[in-house]
């Protein structure tokens, strides 16, 4: 069993090393090697899953750091939570790898791309399977590093590297918070190991628990692009689309949700921080949805929708229904991954064009992508029987049950907006008259890209069944609660099918509105736009958040350190004072040189002056007596 688990790690590692070191020679096969590595790792995961009743599996392979009192082992742990995540991660990444073989076909950084994609999956797996917070942090930063490299994959043009740095630094801001939380845990519990921590949380006071969980949440906000630190995700679209599909939809961004779920005991102990988590989640969901409404770039819309959906997951986890959050995470991985891959195939067909205003009526040219896109859109809008409906609805239901009415309401409104912008996207790109400029001639993507999309489409449809209400409870809920525990009993009495009807109505309403505005009366959006001028421009310019951050943080820091810290403090104050000491000795040397002017008289004058001064001193200090 230990070996099998280790193999899950070793396969991507070997993939990375082969492509990384022998990249130049294994160029044509790089895609195949990488995908084989991930698929075999997926199979290993399935093998582990097959014997899931022998979970939780916890094994320490070697002691990584053992300084005095601070010993951190390299240990892997599989329980129902990490198993679900493992299956989702390895599954989706194998599909993305296969898809990338086609997508990155003639890219000159071909082997480098696959090497780091493998390294990414490796770090993600470490993050999931780690049995202590520090090893999770290793995966945490490793994932950040790989996203930096993969976003900046086409390093020749200026934007991707900048976006990569932005992603890495914003993640680092989150990680700083995460580290502090981690340090609090260590100083209190004396160890970072999950079992050690979660077994004796009794010693933990609520206030300390709140502090710890809030700091850990800062890390989650950084990594999962929640409200204050989400700015890096839209820019991360500079990277190749499969990267966005894998990293910025399915795996990396969900790390924050996983972390919160993993430390569910701490979060459930401090009501304040779970309230914070839920409200940040709701705020981000709503906020990001507004930004997606008016955006014209295909991938950016999907990016904001990811931020918004992540908000949903945090609502689920925040209100205490951890299993619902993870369930939505899983379904989201399927349909959002699908949407991104579909967007990728559109981009691939239109060789890089992303502006929806120049698309339209593509369904005729790209039937598969269109259909698959629609399935994904339906899933995300929460139309039954697709997976999105189940997971989103459960989250909203749980939110309301656990007496968070405002959050429920925000969630519902966001669901409406989600449906609207998704179908706006579909109607703009695939339906209506074709505004495609003539030099583009879209064509359907090759099979190697379409098949993974279809598999994901199937998963998006079937994925929800796991959350279906069956005789003895919801299978997903029972499976996950072995580690996450059952959510607290409902506080507010609600009748479930009314809730279901409301959320379905929201979905259909959104679709209808989108159909009305973009197919029936194309002039309507323009009219609407200038009727609510300020709001529209707000959405359009993404509420100027980037500009505000630049203005508040980036520019002043750069200005202060350049003009003040470096030029003034370092050069003028400290360096100058050191040079002055040197100058001082030179100066005194110069002045006394003037004394030696060759005149005997001046020598004698100074000499006798000396005598006189000494005599004066003798007198001053009380004469000879």
């Amino acid at each position: 069993m230990e070996l099998v688990v280790l193999l899950i790690l070793i396969f991507p590692l070997t993939g990375f090393l082969i492509n990384g070191i022998f990249g130049r020679w294994t160029k044509p096969l790089a895609g195949v090697v990488a995908s084989a590595a991930i698929v075999s790792s997926f199979i290993m995961a399935l093998a582990v899953a097959s014997g899931y009743n022998s979970l939780p599996f916890d094994h320490i392979y070697y002691s990584w750091i053992s300084s005095a009192g601070f010993s951190v082992p390299f240990g892997l742990r599989i329980d129902s939570l990490s198993l679900t995540m493992l299956l989702v991660v390895t599954g989706v990444s194998s599909l993305v790898h296969i898809y990338s073989i086609g997508y990155m076909h003639n890219d000159e950084g071909y082997s480098r791309y696959f090497a780091f994609l493998n390294l990414f999956v490796l770090s993600m797996i470490i993050l999931i399977l780690a049995d202590n917070y520090l090893l999770m942090f290793v995966g945490w930063e490793g994932v950040g590093f790989c996203s930096y490299i993969l976003i900046g994959h086409w390093y020749k043009n200026p934007a991707p590297p900048k976006a990569g740095i932005k992603a890495f630094v914003v993640n680092r801001i989150g990680d700083a918070g995460f580290i502090i939380g981690l340090l609090f845990i260590f100083t209190h519990f004396g160890s970072l190991n999950y079992t050690a921590i979660f077994n004796n949380t009794s010693t933990l006071s609520v206030s300390l628990a709140t502090v710890i969980t809030l700091f850990l949440f800062v890390g989650a906000v950084g990594k999962s692009a929640q409200f204050p630190l989400y700015v890096w995700l839209p820019d991360a679209m500079e990277g190749p689309t499969p990267v966005s599909a894998l990293i910025h939809a399915a795996t990396m961004v969900t790390a924050g949700v996983y972390m919160v779920a993993r430390s569910h005991i701490l979060y459930s102990m401090s009501p304040i921080s779970s309230e914070v988590v839920a409200s940040i989640g709701a705020l981000t969901a709503f906020f990001a949805a507004t930004m997606a409404l008016t955006h014209t770039d295909l991938k950016r819309v999907l990016a904001y929708s990811t931020v918004s959906q992540l908000g949903y997951m945090f609502i689920g986890v925040g209100v205490g229904a951890y299993w619902a959050g993870i369930f939505h995470l899983m379904t989201h991985a399927f349909f959002k991954g699908l949407l991104f891959l579909a967007a990728g195939s559109v981009m691939h067909a239109m060789d890089g064009l992303l502006d929806m205003r120049k698309m339209g009526g593509l369904i005729k040219k790209m039937p598969h992508t269109a259909v698959v896109f629609i399935i994904g859109a339906l899933a995300i809008s929460g139309i039954p029987p697709l997976s999105g409906f189940f997971s989103k609805d459960t989250i909203l239901a749980e939110a309301l049950k656990l007496n968070h009415p405002i959050i429920w309401f925000v969630g519902v409104v966001t669901a409406f907006m989600t449906a609207f912008y998704m179908f706006r996207l579909i109607f703009l790109t695939f339906f209506g008259k074709s505004r495609v400029p003539d030099e583009y001639h879209p064509h359907e993507s090759p099979a190697v890209m379409v098949t993974p999309m279809w598999i994901l489409a199937a998963l998006s449809i079937a994925g929800g069944l796991v959350g279906l209400e069956t005789a003895h409870g919801i299978p997903m809920k029972n499976f996950l609660s072995s580690t996450l525990g059952f959510p607290p009993a409902a506080v507010v009495e609600t009748n479930d099918n009314l809730l279901m009807i409301i959320s379905v109505l929201m979905g259909i309403g959104g679709i209808f509105l989108a159909w009305l505005m973009y197919i029936a009366k194309p002039s309507l959006p323009a009219k609407l736009a200038n009727s609510v001028k300020v709001l529209y421009s707000g959405c359009k310019n993404l509420w100027w958040v980037d500009q505000i951050y630049n203005f508040l943080f980036v520019k002043p820091l750069w200005w202060v350190s350049h003009n003040f810290l470096w030029k003034v403090v370092d050069v003028k104050l400290i360096d100058a004072s050191v040079d002055d000491v040197g100058f001082l000795s030179a100066f005194t040397g110069k002045t006394f040189r003037l004394l030696q002017n060759g005149f005997i008289n001046s020598y004698v004058t100074w000499a006798s002056l000396g005598v006189v001064v000494m005599l004066g001193w003798v007198i001053y200090s009380g004469g000879i007596r």
Binding site: P161, V169, I180
Partner: protein, 516 residues
């Protein structure tokens, strides 16, 4: 130990000196033989130092491989060598870093090659002397001795403003060490006065803490001398100058080893001998350290010159090390020592990286470069590894040091820890911004046509080969640091117990108004 009676450390110490003397006999003009001879000599020196690691008994904290011959009888000064958990790795770091340092300058240095190599070997003896000497006087002798070759290295083979830089470096450090000499003498007499034993023996001096009043002045004097060397924040302005003007080998050794003498000095003098003061001064040093960390990072962010950027990053990294040290607990201390070694490796490697393109393009300005990744891919990968190792990416060496220090500082005082944690953000920014500006984006036309003329070739085999050991070390410490940490435990525990000793009661604590 089997080789206990064999004068092992003095062999290690004087072997480079013998090399330097032998080098003098090789005729000036056939430079290849000189370079080859020095390289082989340095490699042998490294091989000599390796058994130190294996025969080191990590069970006991007292000095090992001790050699103690009386040198100046009248003043009771001894030629006293020895190593313990703390100095073991610094010695190994020195002998290890000499190899890439010398090897990287095979093409770079063309004039006065013989003198250059002699200076390098003398420098090695000086550096080893500082880490091996356990007699205060001998420590001071080697402390001054290693300044001279460094002064020559920067002064003769340096850049445009080398004279100014080397003069500043020499006088600044010299002022500090003169202060140290005075303090050493004072220590010698005060210790003699209070305990009747007039000795320079560091182990002996650390046995009985002096009364409070004396501890204060001696601590301050030693603090200043070592603060200049570390360099701690206000005393750092000589470092960017010295690095910018130094040749690659000089920079590597200056950053890799010379700066560690300052921190090592704290571990040998300030902490064991003046325990009360070390505890009292913690807030001061923490504040200065924090300033150093943030100041170094922020100023590095705006540097146009790559070497200055890396120099300021050294100020930041060693600020970390100081904080770890003055957390005065075992984890922080081990983190600090490991951080010294990591800094030696990653910053030394970064200087080698800058040296590589400096050899080709003769400019260190970041503005002049862009898109090197396209022209020199292998070089870009190598630079990437060391950039991320110095940022502290987990899985590499920087991370281990930083985590241990963070835990140590956090255990000492939550607020210090919380102030220190966000520093990693800025250390990432300045490194990545530099990395992007130099390696990404389209290569400038002049770079493209330079590479067409074959001037901008990728890493040659020679260059590649001296980076490989560094890369291996980076990942070895990153993935299995216990090989290093296990050797430190007992010595660090002993040092920590020394720091937490109370000074004898009869000294009314001048500063704290007796509130002990």
């Amino acid at each position: 130990m089997s080789i206990s009676n064999f004068p092992y450390l003095s062999l290690l110490l004087f072997f480079p000196l013998i090399g330097a003397i032998l080098l003098a006999f090789i005729p000036k003009k056939d430079t290849l033989i000189i370079k080859l001879f020095t390289l082989v000599w340095i490699v042998i020196e490294f091989l000599i130092s390796i058994p130190l690691y294996f025969y080191f008994n990590s069970g006991t904290y007292n000095m090992q491989f001790v050699e103690n011959y009386s040198w100046i009888k009248s003043l009771n000064i001894h030629f006293f060598l020895g190593i313990d958990g703390i100095s073991l790795f610094l010695v190994l770091l020195t002998t290890f870093l000499m190899i890439p340092a010398q090897w990287s300058t095979w093409e770079a240095i063309d004039k006065k090659v013989k003198e250059f190599n002699i200076a390098l070997l003398l420098l090695e003896t000086g550096m080893l002397g500082v880490f091996l000497a356990l007699d205060g006087f001998l420590f001071y002798v080697f402390w001054e001795f290693e300044l001279i070759p460094m002064y020559l290295l920067i002064g003769i083979w340096g850049g445009k403003f080398r004279v100014y830089a080397t003069m500043k470096f020499f006088l600044y450090t010299f002022a500090g060490s003169v202060l140290m000499l005075a303090a050493l003498m004072a220590l010698y007499f005060i210790h003699g006065h209070f305990t009747g034993i007039y000795t320079f023996n560091l182990v002996e001096l650390a046995k009985t803490p002096l009364p409070f009043k004396w501890q204060f002045w001696l601590f301050l004097a030693f603090f200043l001398a070592f603060a200049i060397k570390v360099p701690i924040w206000p005393f750092h302005t000589w470092l960017p100058w010295a690095h910018v003007e130094a040749p690659t080998a000089g920079s590597v050794l200056l950053a890799g080893v010379l700066l560690k003498m300052g921190t090592y000095g704290f571990l040998r003098f300030n902490l064991p001998m003046f325990p009360d003061m070390s505890r009292l001064f913690v807030p001061v040093i923490v504040i200065v350290g924090l300033i150093g960390v943030y100041y170094g990072a922020w100023v590095a962010m705006v540097q146009p010159d790559m070497k200055k950027l890396v120099a300021y990053s050294s100020v930041s990294h060693l600020g970390y090390s100081m904080l770890g040290m003055f957390a005065l607990n075992r984890i922080g201390m081990e983190g600090s020592i490991l951080q010294m070694i990591n800094h030696g490796i990653s910053t030394g490697a970064l200087f080698l990286i800058v040296g590589v393109i400096y050899e080709r393009m003769h400019t260190r300005l970041i503005g002049r470069y862009s898109g090197l990744a396209a022209i020199m891919p292998a070089y870009a990968v190598m630079a990437g590894i060391f950039v991320f190792s110095s940022i502290g990416l987990p899985g590499m060496n920087g991370f281990i040091g930083e985590i241990l220090i963070l835990v140590g500082v956090f255990k000492k005082n939550i607020w210090y820890g919380m102030l220190l944690a966000p520093a990693a953000i800025f250390s990432a920014t300045y490194m990545l911004v530099m990395f992007r500006r130099v390696f990404f984006h389209k290569p400038k036309p002049e770079l493209v046509e330079l590479s067409k003329q074959g001037k901008l070739k990728d890493l040659s085999l020679r260059e590649f080969s001296y980076f490989i050991p560094l890369v291996l070390l980076v990942f070895w410490i990153g993935l299995y640091p216990n090989a290093f940490l296990s050797k430190m435990h007992t010595s660090v525990n002993h040092l920590i117990s020394q720091v937490h000793r109370e000074a004898p009661a009869e000294n009314i604590s001048m500063l704290t108004g007796g509130k002990r």
